[in-house]
Structures are given as structure tokens and as C-alpha cells.
Amino acid sequence: MSVRPRFDPNRAARHRRARIGMVVFQLATLVGIVVLMALLYNIINNAFGLAAIEYRIYPATLGLDLETLPQTPRERLLEILETHLSPGLRRSLERTRPLTQRSNEELAALVLERVLQPKVLDTWPLVPSLLHTQDIVAEVHARFPQAEVRWVRWLNTRFLTRPQSSAPLRAGVRTAILGSLWLVVITAATALPLGVAAAIYLEEYARKDRWYNRLIQVNINNLAGVPSIIYGILGLAIFVRALEPLTSGAVFGAVAEGVTANGRTVLSGGLTLGLLVLPIVIINAQEALRAVPNSLREAAYALGATKWQVVWHHVLPEALPGIMTGTILALSRALGETAPLVVVGASTFITFDPVHPFSKFTALPIQIYQWTARPQPVFRNLAAAASLTLLLLLFLSNGIAVYIRHRARQRRLV
């Protein structure tokens, strides 16, 4: 009685459709890769290249080598400063601190800043610098007969270790890196414990059939999608304004002079970013807890364990690698946030390092933003170098996340 099914396999058409699908997926991947490469190309292109530099006094005429300036004999540096500084300037420098008491680095910096006075006239990106070196040199000689053409690595150790400065050749990102690190530490210190605790409540304790728990869950999911500037405004209202006595450090009394800035401190910034990533941390931690097999919970319960023992001894350790990777990825996002920090009041130009939670601060994205907004072309190169620094920091933190996951997987297979 059974009806014999009639097949129309049309395999050719099915295979064709499969091939089209594959090509579409490959194209999508390719687009992503191309965009990423373009981004990297753009940044790297601007972070290195030729620059036309003009000096008030050329280093060669004084027998100086720029690369090894701080290693120049001390007497020579002092002698240069003696002969080339105006008496008035020298007196005022001596008054701040006698030149002879200053370190070689400081003297070298003074020579560079006050005597040589390099000035970047124009810069060229990496690719044209490589391909059209001759043309550029010729162009520089035509336009600025005085200038010297030099290769500049805008991202160099000096750049990483020097504070911000208005002179592009002396500007660095140390302040911004330290500010970003402070922010990440404060963000992690608030978002990690709060987020994990909330996730444990929601996953392990809350009854999912209760409307209020569902409401909380929906709210958290939505909060993860709230634009970051809104968090900035929230942070401004709560941490900078309402909690000013706390976040400025006023209630804690002794705070170093000149470093505090009412509520606009690195603490406020960190707490704001903490709020920003909290929903993401919660959701990630929930995912990680949900991935812990129920059989593990049952095994523990069946031995007469209390809920706390089950969660603390088994569920949490099992979920920890997942929680850590999720948190680090969330922190990476915090590391790149700009908008809320602008609102909370990150300084755009400070030259001293944040030394405690109540310091004024700046962060790498703020610094990049500030440099890109400058009219002089040379700051583009600094912005590119700072972007590269930020990218490297992000790679580093993501690398740590991958490593933790890898370690956890290895441990399980032992």
C-alpha cells in the first residue's frame, strides 16, 4: 500500500546553491579582513615616515647627535646651554633648579627644547616616503631650504615614556597609558565582583518563573545596549557631582596638591566605565555559568552539599575561565571608550601622571581624539602612533584572554 516516493534529485542545482552559499560566506569574511587590513594600513602608514624638520640651531653645527643626545658628556651639554641660552632664560632656569643639579636627561631635554628647537614643517606617510623618497627630498629642499629630511618612527620608546607636550617631537603618551591602566584597574575592581555576584544570583538563585527576575534580566540585556555617552552622563551626575566628596578624595583628607580635580578624577572615570561594562560582564558570566553542565550541580547536591557549597566549590571554578575571558573582553571595550570619559571630564591636556585614584587623568582614546582635532598635520602622526599603542594594548589583553581559555582547556584534559 505504501506509496513509492518519487525523487527529483536535481543534484546539480543543489550543489550550485551550496557553492553560491560558500562564495557568499567567503566574501563576507573577505570584506571583514579587507576592512581590518585597511585600518591597520592607515594607522601604520601614519605612524612612520619622512618628516621635514627645521632647527634654530642644527645639531651638526654643535657636533651633537640627536639619537644619543643624553649620552653627550655633561660638560658639553652645560657648555652649550651656557653659550646658547639668553641670560634671562638661564637665570630663571637656575632659579627653578640649578642646572648643575639636573640630570643628563634633563639637560639633554633642555638643549633640545631651548637650543636646537626642532620644528616639524611637514610629514609624509610611510608608503610615499618609501616609494618617492627622492621627490620628497627635492620638494623639501624647494619649499624649506633650511629644513632637514629625516626618517621618524612616531611610535618609539620616547613616545611611550614621555608625558604629553605641545611640541610634537617631545609629546608622548605615558600619561595616557597610565591613565588608561588606572581606568581598567578601577573598572575591573568594580565590574568583576559586582557582575559575577549578580550573575550567580540570576543563574543559580533567582527563580526564572518570577516576573521580577525576568524583568531584571530584560533590563540587564537592554543596559548592555545603551549608548556609552548615556553612561557618561550618568557618571557625571552620580560620581562627578553627587558623590564629589568621595570621588575627589576630599573626605579622605590628605591628597597631593595639584593632582586632584574636584570630582573629575580617574576614580570617577573608572567607576563610570565599570557601570558601562557591568551588564556585559553579567551577561558573559551568566553564559559561563550556564555552560557548566547541570550534572555537575546534581553530583554535588546528591552528596548533601548546600547551595553555597555547590556554587562555590564546583560551579564557579568551572565557570571561571569563561568569566575571565568574558570580563577581559569587556575590559578591552572599556579601554577603547572615549565618549563617557569626555563627559566625565577626562583632561585633554595634562603632563603629570595619575598617582592615585583621585588624580586628574587622561586616557589613550582621549589623547588620540585630542590629537586628531589639532590643525597641524604632524599631530596626525602622533594620533596614529597612539592608536597603534592602543591597539597593541588591546591585542595584549585579548591575548591574555585567549591564554587563560587555553590554559583552562589544557587543565581539563590532564
Partner: protein, 259 residues
Amino acid sequence: MTETPAVELRNLNVYYGSFQAVRDVTLAFPKHKVTAIIGPSGCGKSTVLRSINRMNDLIPNARIEGEVIFEGKNIYDPDVDPVEVRRRIGMVFQKPNPFPKSIYENVAWGVRINGFRGTKSQLDDIVEEALRAAALWDEVKDKLHQNALALSGGQQQRLCIARAIAVKPDIILMDEPASALDPIATLRIEDLMRDLVQNYTIIVVTHNMQQAARVSDYTAFFSTDESRTGFLVEFGPTAQIFTNPKDPRTEAYITGRFG
């Protein structure tokens, strides 16, 4: 049976939300015997088993009516702590689920969390005793501190049994303990059950009727009605259930005519 049963179900009804999973089960499990619970899929065997040590409490919308009498007391009374119930009535699950820790820790953990106060060597003794009782000691004594997940499936299941024994329960519930294992490992588990029944009451849910016939002293046969609610059809000594069942439905099932 004149002896008091190890645990007794009285008019047990189990609901998951509005669905009734088990209807009106009254059943006494004899002490120091292996009782097998058999029946077709979805007849509530596991549900009944899990209600004996209050594992169903962990399922959010599960609800229980009736009584489970253990040592003269209904374990669902408000003053009974499910944590203590589960210590006294242990459980071994279908899929081996050792903790992702060392073999030693797997056994020692249950002892420790139940408030064990003693020396390291006393704990070592408890671990060894439990592993010996589970017929696993000789295979693992040289690698006690290796990860339990490196063991074979059969070894893992015996480790789970050792883990359950270590906290000195009175009853061990086994939910299809051999269904994920190969025939040789299955036989070892069955032998083990026969050994353990000297000291423990064992209640085992199984899909495998030969297994029920081989290991159990008593057998309870469950079936389902049209609304997929499970109920007890027949309970009796295994030999009688398999050779001379009173209920035609039991006979139909064990002769393979349905289920």
C-alpha cells in the same frame, strides 16, 4: 515483609507545572535489597527515583504530593532539611559525572563538606575504603591525584559510586547507572551492586530488563496512561515479576510485546 522498609512512598504524585508526571504511587522498598524500577520511556521511573532524595526540588516547577517515609518521617515535612536527606540517600546518575578534580578529591569532597573533622590520614582511610568498596582501588591507587576525567567511562561510574558511598548513606539511588557503559563495564557495575547490597539499600532504575532480572531482588513495573502520567502497575519479588506476573500489562512488557 515484616521488616520495616528502607523507604516508603505513600500516595506519591509528582507534577511538573500543570503536567502530572507520576500518579498515586504507594511502594515500600525493602532494606538491604536491590529493587529495580522498570517500565517504558516516560513512565516516571526517574521522577520517582529523584523524589526519594528530593532531587526534584532542584527543578523549578516540580511539585510533590503524598509522602516519602524514611526512618519514620516524611522527608517532605517542612522541618526536614533536604541537604541531610541527600547525604543519607545518595545518588548515582545515568552519565558518569565525576567532578573535574583528582580522583582523591572526588571521594574526599563529599566527606569534607559534610563537616568531617579528622586528620588527613583518617580521610585517606575513608577514601581508600570507599574506593575499595566500589571495586576501583586497585586500578587507581597509584594515580589518586590524577584528574578523574582521565578515567574510562566504567571507572568514572565506579568512582561516582565510591563518592556516594564515602558519605555513608543508607540508601543508594541509581538512575540507569550502566546505560552509558559497554557490556563489560556494565557487568562490573552489576557485580558491584550485588556486593554493595550487603550494606546498603539499592534502588535502581533501568531500561535493561535482563539487568533488572540479574541484579534485583524486587522489581517495580511502571507504565503510563493516555495522558502520559506514570503509575505503578506491579511490585513484587523479581523472580515472580519475570516468571509469573499478576498483571497482564507487566507480562506484555517483559515478554517484549510493548514498550
